[in-house]
């Protein structure tokens, strides 16, 4: 992504500058744009809430079935590969089952969050038991990877307060930088997230996760493709900062918008 022109938005409490300050800021922006040789592109979204509403409203398949390959790489460059099959209905229900390697094949989890129901269940075949995962355990590593359970669940804009802190122009158009602070009732383990959202795709291309004020993880979404009429990021790379380990999840064999019976999102299907 080529950064050419940058628009910096001041924090909310400093957004009442004097007229002199506003004039100077505008002048600086014009100068900056002129110096860099590219005018700031028109921004379609004036604030973070408008942007995140658009992100949330982005056309999504009603159901998704896919094979996911997860590659875990440590700081020495050694890798482990895990493969799983996933079934999802919008953002409200998801089942994931590991198919390889053999020592974890059959393990899986079920996440349901449709407003009325909100729970995550884990199935471990060695114990043949379905276990409920407590809220705090959402911050735990997802089967040894750099993703945690809450990372895998994705980002629901309604669970955060958003603030637009920066906009820059790239080849594909404006990229918005949004700081999202989890609402206390959401029960997330992070203090805040910083998302980079290209206007062209409305798929967060990069997410930096902060805990205790420090950036602890960075998610990069790539291989954005149109599949079945939807724009999807087929590769997600999560790096644990400071440990130099990362996990890449790639999706393939996608089937979209095919009816999935309710029974798929059940304990019964999880353990079968």
């Amino acid at each position: 992504m080529t950064r050419r022109t940058r628009t910096v938005l001041a924090p909310a409490e400093a957004r009442q500058p004097s007229s002199l300050a506003r004039t100077l800021a505008a002048l600086l922006l014009v100068l900056a744009g002129g110096l860099l040789g590219a005018p700031a592109a028109a921004q379609a979204y004036a604030d973070a809430d408008e942007l995140m509403t658009a992100v949330d409203a982005r056309p999504q398949p009603t159901t998704l079935q896919a094979t996911m390959e997860m590659t875990l790489t440590n700081a020495s460059g050694q890798s482990l590969t895990r493969e799983m099959r996933t079934w999802a209905r919008s953002d409200e229900a998801r089942v994931m089952k590991f198919t390889a390697p053999a020592d974890i094949a059959g393990s899986g989890f079920l996440m349901i969050d449709d407003g009325a129901v909100d729970e995550t269940l884990v199935y471990l075949p060695a114990l043949d038991r379905v276990r409920r995962v407590a809220g705090g355990q959402r911050g735990e590593s997802f089967f040894g990877s750099d993703f945690s359970y809450e990372d895998v669940e994705g980002i629901d804009p309604d669970d955060y307060a958003h603030e637009l802190v920066e906009v820059w122009d790239a080849d594909g158009g404006p990229v918005y930088v949004v700081e999202s602070t989890p609402l206390p009732e959401a029960g997330f383990s992070y203090d805040r997230l910083v998302l980079e959202v290209p206007e062209a795709t409305l798929i967060p291309a990069r997410v930096t996760y902060y805990r205790d004020g420090e950036a602890v993880k960075e998610l990069t979404v790539s291989d954005v493709q149109e599949v079945g009429g939807y724009l999807l990021g087929l590769e997600r790379r999560m790096e644990t900062l400071g440990r130099d380990s990362f996990t890449v999840i790639r999706q393939r064999d996608l089937t979209l918008d095919e009816d999935l019976p309710n029974e798929v999102f059940s304990e019964r299907f999880l353990r079968r």
Binding site: L72, N74, Q78, L80, T81, R82, A100, P101, A102, D103, A105, V117, D118, E119, L127, D128, R129, R131, R132, V133, A134, G135, G136, Q137, G139, E140, S141, G144, S145, D146, G187, S189, R243, S245, T247, L260, P261, N262, E263, V264, S266, E267, R268, F269, R272
Partner: protein, 416 residues
């Protein structure tokens, strides 16, 4: 030679049916190779061997809920320390999906209960207790039916036609009970133990029923089991040998009947999952007067599980055991012997390859056991593990008699 046309006809019939019956048959093979070496503080090898497992898994039917699934696993094990070399059929079962009902027939393991490690209601399968305190569950021939009344409620029924006892502790671990002769007689002979194992008869059927309710946020289950005790009650019969004042003792190991009533459940409270389980074992000797029949007993387990942010996941449990005492000769009512243990388990994934685990069990009789362990994934499906055990406590306590058995075990396994 007349068999040829019959075989050919059968083959033709199978080939004719195959496209429809097995059009959606999917199978896969999996297995494990593992080598283990264990040494205890006495200098003796507790295990020095290898195990190979080969399993065939399959299903017939659609992807979401097939018509049927099946699994069969062979295990071959050789252990120089235990002087064991055997090949045996482990699990071998088929499962039919009949709408909201699943029927599983064959050699299988069934897991009931909610707590960790100690499950008072989980009694249907025998166990391998060769090297205590490990007690791996063994498969047993069973018919198991699970019916989903709705998405929150399921009912399980299990029938075990033939009783199989647990494998007893190895000779080195076995504690033979003292056989007390009646006063005034001389024991001239102690005969070999007579083991009375319930035979394969309808009257020796074992059964279990469990109803589980799992709405959002918590689950609760109630169960009833009609079983035989999986480890025998030991007693001795006095056999006159024809000489006044002299008797022979006939030790008897008897598997007496049990009625087990249990409840278990778990609930999520913020970052904590609370789990609980309790079972009461009714026997045919409620007063503790018959030495040949075990006394009524109960076990209650309560525990909590919580993750420490960026740290280990902790499980803390308290285990209360109680058993009706043998009735005193005076005829007065016996009391209840109780024991209390605590268990603390910490698991921590240091990275994608390294997992640390530590368990500490402490009995309030002053004995206990520490079991630290580490496992490391060398590559996909290849895992090495090192586990130690440190036992402490005075003689005569739950763990104290094993304190010389502290040791360590190393293993390397490949799953495929």
């Amino acid at each position: 030679m007349r068999r040829v046309p019959i075989v050919a006809a059968l083959l033709m019939a199978v080939l004719a049916l195959a496209p429809t019956a097995f059009a959606q048959l999917r199978t896969d093979w999996s297995g494990r190779l593992e080598a283990r070496l264990g040494l205890e503080s006495t200098g003796a090898w507790t295990v020095a061997g290898a195990e190979a497992r080969l399993a065939l898994n399959g299903e017939v039917g659609s992807e979401f809920f097939p018509t049927a699934t099946f699994r069969a696993e062979l295990r071959a094990e050789a252990d120089a320390a235990g002087r064991l070399a055997e090949v045996r059929l482990d699990e071998a079962w088929g499962r039919l999906f009949l709408g909201e009902v699943e029927l599983t027939l064959g050699n299988q393991r069934l897991f009931w209960g909610s707590t960790d490690g100690v499950n008072p209601v989980d009694r249907l399968n025998p166990r391998d207790m060769t090297v205590p305190p490990d007690a791996e569950k063994l498969p047993v021939t069973m018919a198991h039916l699970r019916a989903w009344l709705d998405s929150d409620v399921n009912v399980e029924v299990a029938l075990i036609p033939v009783f199989v006892p647990s494998m007893p502790a190895g000779e080195d671990w076995r504690e033979e009970p003292a056989l007390t002769p009646p006063p005034g007689v001389t024991v001239t002979e102690v005969r070999p133990v007579r083991e009375e194992v319930p035979g394969p008869a309808l009257e020796n059927l074992q059964a279990g029923l469990r109803v589980q309710w799992r709405p959002v946020g918590f689950d609760l289950a109630a169960s009833y089991q009609y079983l035989f005790r999986d480890v025998p009650t030991r007693s001795a019969e006095v056999v006159p040998n024809g000489t006044p004042g002299e008797v022979a003792l006939q030790p008897v190991a008897r598997y007496d009947r049990l009625h087990v009533v249990g409840v278990d459940g778990s609930v999520t409270l913020g970052d904590v999952v609370l789990r609980g389980e309790a079972a009461y074992l009714f026997t045919s000797d409620p007063d503790g007067t018959d030495p040949a029949v075990g006394n009524p007993s109960f076990q209650v387990v309560v525990g909590a599980e919580t993750p420490i942010p960026d740290g280990p996941r902790l499980v803390a449990q308290a285990i209360l055991d109680g058993e009706t005492s043998d009735a005193p000769p005076s005829g007065a009512a016996g009391g209840i012997d109780v024991g209390l243990r605590t268990m603390l388990v910490a698991t921590y994934a240091a990275d994608a390859r390294t997992n640390l685990k530590g368990a500490w069990v402490h009995d309030f009789d002053g004995s206990g056991m520490l079991r630290p362990g580490v496992s490391y994934s060398f590559a996909d499906g290849i895992t090495g593990a090192l586990e130690g055990s440190v036992v402490y406590g005075p003689d005569g306590t739950r763990f104290g008699d094993w304190r010389e058995r502290s040791g360590a075990t190393a293993s390397l396994r490949m799953d495929f």
